[in-house]
Each structure stands twice: as structure tokens, then as C-alpha cells.
Amino acid sequence: MVHCYEEIFRQSADMASAREFPSATVDKRLEVIYFAVQSVERMNTLNKALSDISRIRRQVAHSTEFRGYGPATLGATGILAFAAAGAQARWLPNPASHIPTYLRIWIVTAALSAAMIGTEMYARTRRIHSGIADEMIRVAVEQFLPALGTGALTTIVLVRYVPTVLWMLPGLWQIVFSLGVFSSCRFLPRAVTAVGAWYLLTGLICIALGDGRALSPWAMAIPYGVGQLLVAGILLWSGKEERE
């Protein structure tokens, strides 16, 4: 489209400088240029209208409660956390001396949970928020992505450069996760704030443990298991209330 306008203007400039056409041809060309300029103005108006529509969509998305998180899936990720803790208790009795295995267990659990939540979020948002689905998903991801990114980068830095304080990881993960929950609260039921507070509290307790006890399977299972079940319950209850 831009090339098309550029071509119109380039050729009109060439024509004006050449001055080698018979007058009738020049008149005809001026007429064509007049319509070309009008076309450009019309395109500008249409593009402005399209950007206005996008702006309204964005505003609607920002003022709509996000319903893309499914209670059942969130509950399932809580159960998954308990299952991962069970696996750790069974096969990794001394996590402090097998940090790579400990990290594998919980990173795989987190990735599985993220995949489950993401897949359902995509489908639910398309169904529930038709018309603004893409915008809603973008807003939801924008709210949580900084926390996930921070958690991942903190893990990499601690594993690589400060392996002596790896016992802090569960606490830091929970604190960073709480920040993600807090930033998502604006578009979720108000009670979800309590879940953010829960993750913050458990994260601080984990750090307060001050040693390898923080790597206990229950230091991950209780915060994430209870937290995810709690948020699932809140979403289920608020969904029911809204239907009523």
C-alpha cells in the first residue's frame, strides 16, 4: 500500500519536472494526481477509523474481567504440585545434594502446569471473550510474563553463580509468583488478592527457614498446591455468582 502511494508521488514529481507532455496529457495527468491525492486522504481516514476501533477494543479488554483461567485446570495444577512433591519425597530424600534432579522435577512440573493453563486459556478466551480474545490473552500474558521471566532468570543466575544459596529458590519462586498474581488481580475477582498474599507469605516463610529445609517437597507442595486450589475455588465461586 505504501509503495503504491510512493509510486504515485514519484511519478507525479517526474512528470512535473519533465514538462515534455502535450497540454491535454498534462491536464489528464493532473486530474489523475488529484484523484490520487484524494485516495491517499481517504486511506488516512480509513486507517484512523481502524486504529480507533482497535483502541476501543483495547479499552474494553482492559475493563473486562478475565475469564480465561479455568478453575478445573488451575485445580489440576495444584494436584500436580502435590504429585511432584510425592515424587520428590519418594525418589529424592536428600535434595540439597542432588540439586539438578530437584530443579528438573519442579521445572518440568511448572512447564506442564503452564502448558495446561495456556492451552485452556486460549480455548476459553476465544469462547468467552469473542471479539476481544486476542487482546485479552495479550493483557493476561503481559501481566504474568514479567514474573515468570524474573523467576527463570533468577534461577539461572543462582544456579550458575551462587550455588551455595540454592536453598532460597523455592522461597524466591513463590515471592516472584505472588507478584505475578498481584499484577493479574486487576482483571480477576478481587478475592484473588488473598492468593497473592498467600504466595508471598509462604515464600517469606521458606526464606526464613534459612537452610536446606526449604528444599523439602512440602515447601513447594503446600504453597502451590493450596494456592492453586484456592484460586480455582475463587474463580468457580465468582463464576457461579455471576451466572446467578
Binding site: 507525479s12 484523484f35 490520487a36 474494553v60 474481567e65 476481544i132
Partner: protein, 128 residues
Amino acid sequence: MKTTAPGSEGRFAYEGLDRVIHERARLSVLTSLITHRKGLTFGELKELCALTDGNLNRHLRVLEKGEMVEIVKKFDRNRPQTVCRITASGRARYMEYLSTLEQVVRDAATVTEERSAGLAHRLAPSQT
């Protein structure tokens, strides 16, 4: 939104352009309400849409009849207050309207773009 293949019958029917919404003042009222989740008071709505009391009342009645807004009368600090909110069906119809409107503008843009391309072709030196 109903979409049909380009060139097919009803391509430009734009059935999603709801007659109730397709009026400047009502579009303005609905856009204000859809971007305020908790609703707006009559006074706030009047100010946002630059409408008179009578005009706003009339348009709100049309929207209420179409089940697109709900009007709740309540008391705030012993003063009567009218709060307007968009309903779930109003929200859905507004989004459908917006999608259709976007399609109308896109179709117009396509036509304008094709015309511009035609003009560029006519201006080519080989054509003179």
C-alpha cells in the same frame, strides 16, 4: 459476525450493524458503559456523551428496551442516584457491532487501495 466468501451473495450485507447501536448517541453511551465495568451514574454518562437529560433518557430507554443496559435507582449518602450498566447481551451485541464496523472499514480500505494502484498504473510513463 456473519462473514461470507468474497464476491458471494450478501458479501456487503453487514447484518451485524445492529440498528439499535447504529446511532451516534447510543453508540457513544454504549462505548462509555462498556469501558466502565462498574457502570456510570446518569450525570457521568451525560457528561461523557455530551447529551442533554432528555436526550440521554430517551436513548437509555431504547437501550433498556433492547436489554442492552440496565438502569438501577439507588441511594448514595441519602441522595437518589441512577446507575447505568451494560448487560452481558449488550456487551456481546456491541462487540459484534464493532467487528462488523471494522469489516466495513477494511472493505472500504481495500477498494481505495485498489483504486490507488489503478491510478499509479495510469501514471506510469509507458502509458502516455
